[in-house]
Subunit: 208 residues, 4 copies
């Protein structure tokens, strides 16, 4: 009987991971749908198309930033769940909240792509960074829900990686909040903070 | 030989779950495609963009309601199939009918987002709630097909969870029907019922 | 060494199935993107919205027909691969050709949705049925590639189900061709044949 | 302890493959979203619809070329990872870079579909081939990261297939670069090189 319990629980985690992977994979791929083919009304030639494609660089930049941020969240999601032995309803809901916000990333990315070079850039950047404040909070809740001793393998709560997760992840919400607050003053600074953050997440992942 | 039969059957359930997870994951992520970047014709500045983004709250509300409802259906789908040992054609078709209707949720969500604040709100809300009436019926058929003794593990039909599924799920169709019937009188009441329902599903899941 | 070979090969089939499931799941869910929210220019009220939603019935019909047809192809794809022990390049390419055509189903469904009630219905229906002629041919090639003795489990080639696949699937191309040829005379008859065909596939699956 | 390490690592590779498969599957299916239903303004009849559908052949050609190229990359990705025993951060990032570029293929395919028969064809084709130059470079980086001895099974670095990967894949970047350089002179030649390349990849896969 205890053996069956373990077996059932592992299967449950497996399907939670598979579903989350599906949502991450679809959300990350939908980002590219925001790359729009430029519409040239007149003077259709190689020069004008090349210019129009180059002029879309804020779109490519936002696409790349969002893609890498979501990818890193997937890597970390994956590293956290590796230590979790079973899923319970609170974990499923914390995970659901995280996924809800991640599926909204293509939307906030589209807002920044559309308004980055207009006078509305401060609002667009605040909105973009604000989405990531919510995501960082959801990620922190997800982490705290996942590493409850009841769900972890025996002894896993004391491992170096779980300790490090607990220490590092609490910086997510304030740092993205700083980006959101900087946005009305300087959209460029806000985007630079968002970019610096994923480089920081990437480097810190390298250490583990 | 019996061993191989069991093995083959479990593989079959696995792929049914994987495919369903894929459809659930894509459908839930496509919901976010209905969040449209506001188009500002003139007076593009941070104030107008912020207003336009805030004015889209019915879209965010419908997106959130649909997302959580589909997520809970996935959780329950998953809990049901955990008790099922093998898939047969009736289960595959009941599952297919459920998936067919779930893929239509982004469409009915888009209808409510578009018409929520127009004089057509009653029809839009009826349509939205009506979709969930069909989904609730399909879910009940799926449940009844899945928990036939031939497919369950020995003894699973008498477990508390299967008994609870059988008792709770029959309330889905009449409750969503109530929302659909309330919609012409008060779109707000209909949406409130839909929201109350997912909170109820979530809380009842917590108990298990 | 032979043991490792078997292990590697099974893993290969597993990933082929997982990838195919992903494409099937995404393609089947994208079908719903062709359900468009009706745009009401003026006179926005519940009556006009209800009429506009009801007037879209050819879209719902085409969506349902395509969804069920793709779902049945997924069920059969799954039943065929259950008997296959390993994947080799020809199987991967036959599978790729099938997936290529299946991802085009949302496109041909959109064509029929758009032009079903215009004078262009014959061409639209021919195009729709023609897509399924190609799919049925690809499915037959996929079947023949999959059930080569080199890939099957020992003895599987003589089983009743493989014999039945070989017998039934050769009817797909001529029957869809009949629908395509009927389309210029009667679009309704062509769609009726397509519908009758998925009912036939569903019923014949029920027997196995 | 070493046993647990191995187990954990294999799980990690499994989820890396599953996520990559998801992104490949979604990206390959999204290609079909670029097939647009022709809009006929007036004179809607079977003749005009048939002509409009036929006139879209560059779209079908670009869709097919991109689909098969992405499919072959998936096959090769899969063959490479079959030899990899564990995933580490560099492999995850090399894989992420590859996926980032692959999700952009529907965009570059849409550019070629839109501008193939306009005076902007040289720029469109350069952009399309240029995307594949980046992808070929990313694929080479991914290969080199994946076949580091630390990640491979003992002895796998000397196997014929790993040797062949190392030899063949270095031709990808220069060959796609040749296509990109040929594009301003002859868009047709550039597309012919892209087509010849996937035929070459397909044939070379057949040998393994």
């Amino acid at each position: 009987m205890p053996e069956e319990l373990v077996e059932t629980s592992e299967k449950e985690t497996g399907r939670l991971e598979a579903f989350s992977d599906g949502v991450f994979a679809v959300a990350i791929t939908l980002l590219a749908l925001e790359l729009k083919v430029p519409k040239l009304e007149e003077n259709v030639n190689s020069q004008t198309l090349a210019n129009a494609l180059l002029n879309q660089w804020p779109g490519y930049f936002a696409f790349t930033t969002s893609f890498i941020t979501v990818l890193l969240m997937w890597v970390h999601h994956h590293q956290i769940l590796k230590h979790v032995r079973r899923a319970d309803p609170p974990l499923m809901y914390a995970n659901g909240l995280l996924l809800l916000l991640i599926t909204a990333v293509p939307f906030s990315t589209a807002v920044i792509t559309e308004y980055w070079r207009t006078p509305a850039a401060p609002a667009a950047t605040t909105f973009y960074a604000g989405t990531f404040v919510l995501i960082a909070i959801a990620f922190y809740i997800f982490l705290m829900t996942a590493i409850r001793p009841a769900l972890l393998a025996p002894g896993a709560a004391q491992t170096r990686i779980v300790q490090r997760f607990r220490r590092d992840y609490k910086w997510g919400p304030p740092l993205y909040l700083a980006a959101a607050l900087a946005a009305p003053l300087s959209p460029l600074l806000a985007m630079a903070i968002c970019t610096a953050l994923w480089i920081f997440w990437a480097v810190s992942t390298k250490e583990c």
